[in-house]
């Protein structure tokens, strides 16, 4: 590993801070991911591995969906000493790119939303998705966003609906972190409102 666990993970963390405090701001983990060249435990993406190294340690638990989940859990446990547990008990739910259809919805449903007394004891879902770019298919608003901002993300399914359902009783809820294969990172904390834009459809009809 050419990755410097002090300086390069600090840099990953700051990008996570930037993207979480400004939802819709896409951060590029490409530079740090390149340092993991050759590292590819159990077929997980390098950005996912970077986030695991940044956030996980023996004080937290996690659960992996997709691919050879068991092998990856073993690998992550050996790297970070975090413990793999069932979905509803996990601090971090990690979805690999080959997690089956409906996995994200399942993870959102199972994830611990915390309580009104302790909303910080909620889970964070980290998922590898299709391409993430600036755009106008999803409009985001809420803290960290001046009026509104737009993104495009290649991600099928009814995850937005499931997320709305999960986060309807603020401050409980789950926070989402998405990375794509180009190491672009998007963070959607529970406070971010997502509106699906109908603009694309309208254009098509006309």
């Amino acid at each position: 590993m050419k990755l410097d666990v002090v300086h390069d993970l600090q840099s990953v963390y700051r990008k996570l801070v930037d993207s979480t405090s400004r939802p819709g701001l896409i951060s590029d983990l490409g530079k740090e991911a390149a340092l993991l060249d050759g590292e590819n435990p159990a077929g997980c993406s390098r950005s996912i591995l970077l986030l695991a190294l940044t956030l996980l340690d023996p004080e937290v638990t996690f659960k992996v969906y997709g691919g050879d989940a068991e092998a990856f859990e073993k690998e992550i446990n050996q790297l970070t000493f975090a413990k793999a547990v069932q979905a509803d008990k996990a601090d971090y739910l990690i979805l690999l790119k080959d997690a089956g259809a409906g996995s994200l919805e399942h993870a959102i449903e199972m994830a611990d939303p915390g309580t009104f007394i302790n909303p910080h004891k909620s889970a964070t879902i980290i998922a590898e998705t299709g391409i993430i770019t600036e755009g106008n298919k999803l409009l985001l608003s809420g803290p960290g966003i001046q009026t509104s901002t737009g993104i495009n993300i290649e991600l099928a399914g009814n995850w937005i609906e499931k997320r709305n359902e999960k986060n309807k009783e603020y401050p409980t809820g789950v926070d989402l972190v998405f990375v794509d294969r180009n190491h672009q990172l998007l963070s959607l904390p529970r406070t971010t409102q997502i509106t699906e834009s109908r603009e694309v459809e309208k254009e098509w009809v006309m």
């Binding site: 340690d57 926070d175 406070t191």
Partner: protein, 284 residues
């Protein structure tokens, strides 16, 4: 830089724990996230909460500014800067506009903050409801239930007693319409600067082991009443004796020789910058 220390003083496990708490704090604006506050080689009550945030954030490329009640040169600010510089080698500045991380006690700088800056505020007492509710268990319950009538009652009693809201510093605010939050002992003058600020604001309480956050562009409303609207300290008709600035937070001082009252910018680096600009303009 002293290589006997870890970079940024902490071991990586300590940083990770503070970082996880910080990300949760950003996701739940105004909510106090507990964290395992570390012992620091500076005195308690000297901004260990802010310092721990700064150390968990800082990287080699950062430029740090530390201010204590508006001054970059106080003993407190100097000892914090020394610790960070000794363990990271980062560049230190007095200029607000040049800093990427600004750690402050009791003030938000006069120069407006930008999107590429993080303001870290040192907090002695993070719980705005502690004044009337001593139990942590109870205050957590009040926050959970959004039961803030006690906070309003506290302000109302002050109005009854003094005829106005004489809360001085640390006037409570409502964050994103959900949590009542202690903005740290900044003067009321600085409260409006928190509203929809462009920078991320992180608040750290070392002794009380709490981290909380105000993301950029977040609605911050100072608690008040229709009949007694919130007002910052007014310096109407007054200006800084040194640089002539109006509309900034001024310290009231007394000239010992003449006994006359005069005013000076509380934010000393701002005052110097204005003076230097004036000097340059004068030379040209």
């Amino acid at each position: 830089m002293n290589n006997a220390y870890n970079f940024a003083f902490f071991d990586e496990g300590s940083k990770r724990e503070i970082r996880r708490a910080t990300l949760k704090a950003i996701a739940i604006p105004g909510y106090q996230v507990p964290f395992a506050s570390r012992e620091m080689p500076i005195g308690r009550g000297w901004g260990t909460g802010g310092l721990q945030l700064t150390l968990s954030l800082i990287g080699k490329e950062d430029v740090l500014k530390v201010i204590d009640q508006g001054s970059d040169e106080s003993v407190n600010a100097v000892s914090i800067k020394k610790l960070v510089k000794d363990t990271t080698g980062v560049q230190i500045t007095d200029h607000t506009s040049q800093a990427t991380i600004i750690q402050s006690r009791h003030r938000i700088p006069e120069v407006p903050l930008r999107t590429d800056q993080i303001l870290v505020l040192q907090v002695p007492l993070p719980e705005p409801l502690r004044y009337f509710e001593p139990s942590e268990h109870e205050t957590k319950k009040l926050h959970a239930e959004k039961e803030y009538s006690g906070a309003w009652l506290m302000l109302f009693e002050q109005i009854m007693k003094y005829g106005s809201m004489t809360t001085g510093a640390d006037h409570p605010v409502m964050v994103h319409g959900r949590y009542v939050m202690a903005p740290s002992p900044i003067p009321r003058f600085d409260n409006p600067k928190m509203d929809e600020n462009e920078a991320l604001i992180l608040l750290g309480a070392g002794r009380e082991k709490k981290i909380y956050a105000v993301p950029p562009y977040t609605r911050i409303v100072s608690l008040d009443f229709e009949d007694y609207p919130f007002e910052g300290e007014s310096f109407h008709g007054k200006c800084c004796r040194l640089c002539g600035s109006e509309g900034v937070f001024l310290d009231e001082l007394i000239d010992e020789a003449t006994g006359e009252t005069f005013y000076q910018c509380n934010d000393t680096s701002y005052c110097c910058e204005i003076l230097n600009e004036a000097e340059k303009a004068g030379v040209n």
